[in-house]
Symmetry: C2
Subunit: 181 residues, 2 copies
Amino acid sequence: MSGYELAKTFDSSIGFFWKADHQQIYRELSKLRDRGHIQGHEVVQSGKPNKLVYTLTSEGRAAFRHWAARPSSPPMIKDDLLVRLCALDSVDIEPLRADLMARLEHHRDRYARYERILKKLFPDGTATSVADTGKLLGLRIGLRHERTVAEWCEEAIETLSAISKPASVLLLEDSRRENNG
Amino acid sequence: MSGYELAKTFDSSIGFFWKADHQQIYRELSKLRDRGHIQGHEVVQSGKPNKLVYTLTSEGRAAFRHWAARPSSPPMIKDDLLVRLCALDSVDIEPLRADLMARLEHHRDRYARYERILKKLFPDGTATSVADTGKLLGLRIGLRHERTVAEWCEEAIETLSAISKPASVLLLEDSRRENNG
DNA sequence: CTGACTTTTTCGCGTTACGGTAAATAACGG
DNA sequence: CCGTTATTTACCGTAACGCGAAAAAGTCAG
């Protein structure tokens, strides 16, 4: 692909777990070219300026295999939310609750998107090729993750709601429960 | 706290979702001091060199509240593993499988640690103060996350095992299943 | 032909967050 | 004096990225 094409298709492919604007992509392409991992070929176009289509070299493919074979450690989850929870008593609850509700929506949305992709690519839930197996596994952890975090968001929102209610409301609810139960 | 104390206690507190060595901590402390968010007071010690204990200023506390009230977006999960799964057919399976097994152990370990902390801090599973509520919620998402990822690791390892087995083994297992079932 | 717009690529500046190595203090014990 | 611990600082570098712009090449409407 050319840098321009990569920049356009990035968000809808690996964009789920990696962001890069066009400049970053061009920068990385230059680096890879300098290291001999990819090679650029100018492709003439009619009606548009020519483009520089990059292809993997054999060295590049080998380097990738080598990179992929090296042990990795799980990434840190650097989430502002966790910091705010650590210091919950020094924080305004309402904006935090709003944030959690936005996140809940976000994770539900992502879950739905992954489910749609899953049903489209793997209608019967199984992969046939090796490449598909990898994508299926990626989808599965995505689905699991979004579901988990969404569930936690619901729990957290409920918990925070209880905090932000004044004691009088809690008393009211208590007496109601007594009357009804 | 002083920078030295922070560096010592960092790993066992926020260290679960943030890493920082002593230099990084000193650097950040300097920045915060320059911005007036914290103030350093020299504390004389006997038997040791004096230390610079930093305390939050009222501006610092206000800045934190302000920061904590601003909407945040969920962090990206930049995980090498996902890249390798995306290109599973260009990757050696065995080291990947080994990596997954290491991860499985890591996440099980973390799960156990969180569980131990939970039982120690919240024996009955409920928090009394607002500060505790935040920590409990943090523990809960940690537990959920580790369990989810560990389960996924098991699934992925099994899936990859099926791939790396030659077809003859699969045939053998098929015929065994037929004879036994 | 000019001006606006798309496609494709590049440049130059800055920042944040880090890692590495070491050194400067200060106090202690032997 | 030397080695060790505690405490802080200095200096060097890097990877990854954002910002804002602009160059170059082509299209099309007015």
